[in-house]
């Protein structure tokens, strides 16, 4: 027995959903979707659940993660109900449902909360700047330590519990399985999708989808590389020429690709860039700022001019802290994990289903 909840739809609009209520259930979206199959029928089903506000069904579903937003459904929707953007909004919503702190949801629903969080970081760093009495060396030392602590802390206290919650909602509640064999056999799925996003390639390629996939792949690898170079190889302090050169290349990759992504969102040429939620903007812009400021800081180091332009490092640090404490744990960054875990969990569920 399902009880409709119309408040759900209103709430979902804050996550970016538009006009999905206009759906008259023709199913064109599902018919044109290159990723939907007989076993994974979407987006119409998710649109219907959203209209009725069936929260439990949505919370337990992995289907929003199976969509890679080529936008064909929105193009062909006769009611202009924007099913593609609905799937996107459901992903934002699911991120907030998985998050045990509830902060993801708060930030997603409220631009003011986002701004307040960013300003709090700025205020904190300014306080530190005025009262710590740290010099350049201390700043860079503690900055580096922060990076390590943030990665460990965010992962241990936020992301890991959230992935366990995701598993609980989507696997345990449906299959109640703990068979090790299944979990191990399905594991390649996780790594494959995490590092290739290859499902994107199955999308209909009418709007330079392959190019987009390539840029995105390069960005993911560039970002991970930059993370590794700055945190574990201490790029800013390194003297190893290979590390230094790699850092330049990786940070350049990050800001060049994100610049292109910002342009795409401004131009709105493809369905997936027509609608941009604040969380989308923050994600690409902060990534861009991180890349370009990191590039700039290292350049100043190499030119021996960092002391005279230390503000740039402070700017970089501010962006970094905002990124690590807000966007990574509670913002769009998490899609990196959830998308690949969704493929993993989906495989587990299918392997445990008798029909499979």
């Amino acid at each position: 027995m399902a009880r409709p909840d119309l408040k759900f739809g209103k709430k979902l609009k804050k996550y970016g959903a538009v006009d999905f209520n206009a759906c008259y259930n023709c199913g064109t979206c599902t018919a044109v979707c290159a990723l939907a199959s007989e076993t994974d029928s979407f987006p119409r089903e998710m649109v219907r659940y959203s209209v009725l506000g069936l929260d439990e069904e949505i919370k337990g579903s992995l289907k929003p993660w199976l969509c890679y937003y080529c936008g064909e459904c929105s193009t062909y929707c006769p009611q202009e109900a924007q099913p593609g953007e609905l799937m996107m909004s459901l992903r934002r919503y699911l991120i907030s449902r998985y998050d045990w702190t509830g902060l993801s949801g708060l930030l997603c629903r409220s631009l003011a909360a986002y701004a307040a969080a960013f300003l709090a970081v700025v205020a904190g760093l300014m306080g530190l700047f005025f009262f710590s009495g740290w010099g350049q060396k201390e700043w860079m030392h503690y900055g580096h330590l922060f990076e390590m602590a943030a990665i460990g802390g965010v992962f241990a206290f936020i992301l890991l519990p959230n992935i366990v919650r995701m598993w609980y909602f989507t696997v345990w509640k449906r299959k109640k399985t703990l068979r090790m064999k299944t979990y191990l056999l399905a594991l390649p799925e996780l790594l494959l999708h995490m590092f290739t996003q290859k499902r994107t390639l199955s999308c209909n390629d009418e709007r330079d989808n392959t190019l987009w996939w390539f840029e995105h792949l390069v960005l993911v690898l560039g970002y991970l590389g930059l993370l590794f170079a700055t945190v574990f190889l201490d790029w800013f302090a390194s003297t190893h020429p290979v590390v230094v050169a790699a850092g330049y290349v990786l940070s350049a990759v990050v800001f060049v690709v994100t610049f292109d992504f910002v342009i795409r969102r401004i131009r709105k040429r493809s369905e997936k860039s027509v609608f941009s939620h604040p969380s989308d903007w923050f994600f690409v812009i902060w990534l861009f700022l991180m890349g370009i400021s990191a590039f700039g800081v290292r350049l100043l180091v190499d030119l021996g001019a960092l002391a005279g332009h230390f503000w740039l490092y402070l700017l970089h640090l501010t962006v970094l802290v905002q990124w690590a404490l807000i966007i990574v744990p509670f913002g769009k960054w998490t899609h990196f994990l959830y998308r690949s875990f969704a493929m993993y969990f989906d495989r587990i569920v299918k392997m445990e289903s008798p029909a499979a």
Binding site: A2, A22, Y49, Q79
Partner: protein, 644 residues
């Protein structure tokens, strides 16, 4: 005088000649007594062929003729017109159908088909030998039309006829005009209220000198026929002479101690025994409902215009045509149908619309605030079992519009539509879109699995296996359940009985042909308009009323009307007035006549359809049907039987 019969046999471009040896038929026909010439033609209906026949007649070669071709349904009027153009009486032409009944039916047997065609043609020749010239019957027409029902359809038709210079008697059973539309609040698409629309029509009606409006008026008797009907109309008085000064009428209504169920609001409120349905309702004079009035006299003290001395009267009117726009009734659900009359928060769509119209700041039902509304569609329409198989057409749109309007008027409403598939056809689709976009939820089930309404712990639950959600059971806790009831014919069907209007399988008044003659009935001179023809919305009702007005006009536009003279004739010497023929006549065209001193049957020729039902029941064989006399038919049978 010896007949000079012409026989024209058509090839129909092979349709006939491929299977029937037309030359053989021609030869057989040529041998028949009285046949002056027999020809075959590639296409008898072609201009050149028509001219050829006309020429034969004009040259005196032919004084009567047979055409053997397709069904007379198709080309009888064509060759009748050939006869008339050539100066020959059109009843001196007889048609033989050798296509539908011969060549097409026997394409496997060429010889048999040819033999049958020969028989048909010979039978037609036998008939045409006896054919007499007969003239159409002419009737003097009354240049007036009776319009029954002053709803939007009736008022529009009346105005349209009046503008063409016809006298119109517009009769309305109720004491106020407007019919059902006056009961609706905001109407869809035009954003006008029913009240406003009715006011506009009413202004047109009263402004036209040619229209006489009778309210409280009912048709009680009708005699005569097309072009010349005599009708009797019973008029119930209002018992109020005129508009009372200032707000004396309001006070007169206030002091009335009698309260009765208000049918204008579909029984959701009460009214007084002296009333109008709303203050600006037309005509502006209030009415005393004498069925419930106790004659306490309180209202008389408030307003001197109240007059209990008024009496019921019957007026006799002469009209050339009757236009029926009697409207519809909303379907009343059966007790227990979706909880109707069992749960007190289950109401019908008309009740809901009135509730929304009369509620001001808050939507309340029986004192309880309403937030969640469940609409159950197709109640009393599209029935799997039950007599209403039809779709009522207007309800999907009107429900969606009512829900949108209710949502605009009252905040915080949730709407759940339990449908069997939405049919907001044509331009109205945008309203479905609008309602969906505003977050109204549409659920759907098939006819064999309707929604269930139950009550538990004081809550009303509506459940459905929603086919749009993989037949999952969805439950809505509703404050108000609105049964979307369709249209049914008026319970009071006396007008149809008086005029002998046939009804269709849906029990609405039937037109002759849905496409070809959509507003005419088999009763000549009587047209139908609006929702008495079948479910339709205001737009469609107005369309049909304009059509019906034109059709009614065609019966009265000239001083005389020519009608088909194929009617029954009584032999006064043989007739003994046994009444058998009058009883057999489906059109009431036969009556007793003693004017000559002898009691005999008399045929009211304008009413007679020439159906022939009276012929076989006459024990004295005193009735003949023109152009189908015993002799003519016997001759034809003789030919056909002889050949067998």
């Amino acid at each position: 005088m010896k007949r000079k019969i012409g026989v024209y046999i058509c090839h129909c471009g092979g349709n006939i000649s491929d299977y029937v040896d037309v030359e053989k038929v021609r030869q057989a026909a040529a041998k028949e007594a009285g046949v002056a010439l027999a020809r075959t033609m590639e296409f008898a209906c072609a201009d050149s062929s028509q001219k050829e026949i006309a020429q034969d007649i004009q040259e005196g070669a032919v004084d009567s003729f047979v055409v053997a071709s397709c069904s007379p349904k198709l080309h009888l009027p064509t060759f009748q017109s050939v006869a008339e153009r050539a100066g020959l009486n059109k009843y001196q032409y007889v048609h033989a159908n050798i296509r539908e009944q011969v060549s097409w039916a026997h394409s496997d047997d060429k010889e048999g088909a040819t033999a049958k065609a020969v028989q048909f043609v010979r039978a037609a020749i036998a008939k045409v030998r006896l054919a007499k010239a007969i003239e159409p019957i002419e009737i003097q027409t009354q240049r007036a039309v009776l319009v029954v029902g002053a709803g939007v359809a009736g008022m529009k038709a009346a105005t349209s006829l009046a503008k063409m210079g016809v006298n119109v008697y517009l009769i309305e059973k109720e004491h106020f005009v407007g019919g059902r539309v006056s009961q609706w609040d905001v109407l869809c698409i035009t954003e006008e209220t029913g009240k406003d629309l009715v006011t506009r029509f009413y202004i047109d009606v009263v402004a036209n000198q040619n229209i006489t409006l009778f309210t409280g008026a009912e048709l009680v008797e009708c005699s005569g026929s097309m072009g010349n009907f005599t009708v009797k109309v019973r008029i119930t008085p209002r018992y109020v002479k005129d508009i009372c000064e200032k707000d004396r009428m309001r006070r007169a209504i206030e002091v009335c101690p009698v309260e009765v169920v208000d049918e204008f609001n579909f029984s959701i409120t009460k009214r007084k025994a002296i009333y109008h349905n709303f203050p600006s309702q037309y005509p502006l004079v209030a009415v005393v409902d004498m069925k419930h009035c106790t004659r306490c006299g309180k209202c008389e003290k408030e307003c001197e215009k109240i007059d209990f001395s008024q009496e019921e009267k019957v007026v006799e009117l002469k009209v050339g045509s009757i236009l029926v726009a009697a409207g519809f009734d909303p379907y009343t659900p059966k007790n227990g149908e979706f909880g109707y009359q069992v749960y007190d928060n289950v109401i019908t769509l008309p009740q809901f619309k009135r509730l929304v119209a009369i509620s001001d700041t808050e939507l309340k039902w029986k004192g309880r605030p309403v937030q969640t509304i469940a609409y159950i569609y197709c109640v009393g329409s599209r029935q799997l079992e039950g007599e209403n198989k039809y779709c009522s057409r207007y309800c999907c749109l009107t429900t969606i519009c009512a829900a949108i309007k209710a949502g605009e008027k009252f905040s915080g409403l949730s709407h759940f539509h339990f449908t069997r598939g939405i049919r907001t056809y044509g331009k109205y689709e945008t309203f479905f879109y609008e309602a969906s976009k505003r977050g109204q939820v549409f659920l759907q089930s098939f006819e064999d699995d309707p929604p269930q309404v139950t009550q538990k712990d004081g809550r009303t639950l509506v459940r459905i296996h929603d086919i749009l959600t993989s037949r999952r059971e969805v439950e809505v806790d509703a404050d108000l359940v609105v049964l979307v009831t369709g249209m049914v014919p008026r319970t009071d069907g006396r007008i149809g009985e008086i005029l002998k209007l046939p009804r269709g399988r849906d029990r609405f008044y039937n037109e002759i042909h849905m496409k070809l003659r959509p507003v005419e009935t088999v009763i000549d001179g009587v047209t139908i308009a609006g929702a008495c023809r079948g479910p339709q919305n205001v737009v469609e009702a107005i369309n049909s009323s304009l059509s019906a007005a034109i059709k009614s006009y065609s019966f009265v536009r000239r001083d005389t009307l020519a009608i088909e003279p194929i009617v029954a004739e009584i032999d006064p010497d043989a007739c003994t007035w046994c009444e058998a023929c009058a009883k057999a006549c489906p059109f009431d065209a036969i009556a007793r006549d003693a004017s000559t001193g002898k009691e005999i049957a008399r045929v009211n020729t304008p009413v007679c359809k020439g159906c022939g039902m009276c012929l076989p029941v006459c024990p004295a064989n005193a009735i003949q049907l023109r152009t189908f006399s015993d002799e003519e038919v016997q001759q034809m049978i003789g030919v056909l039987a002889h050949e067998l």
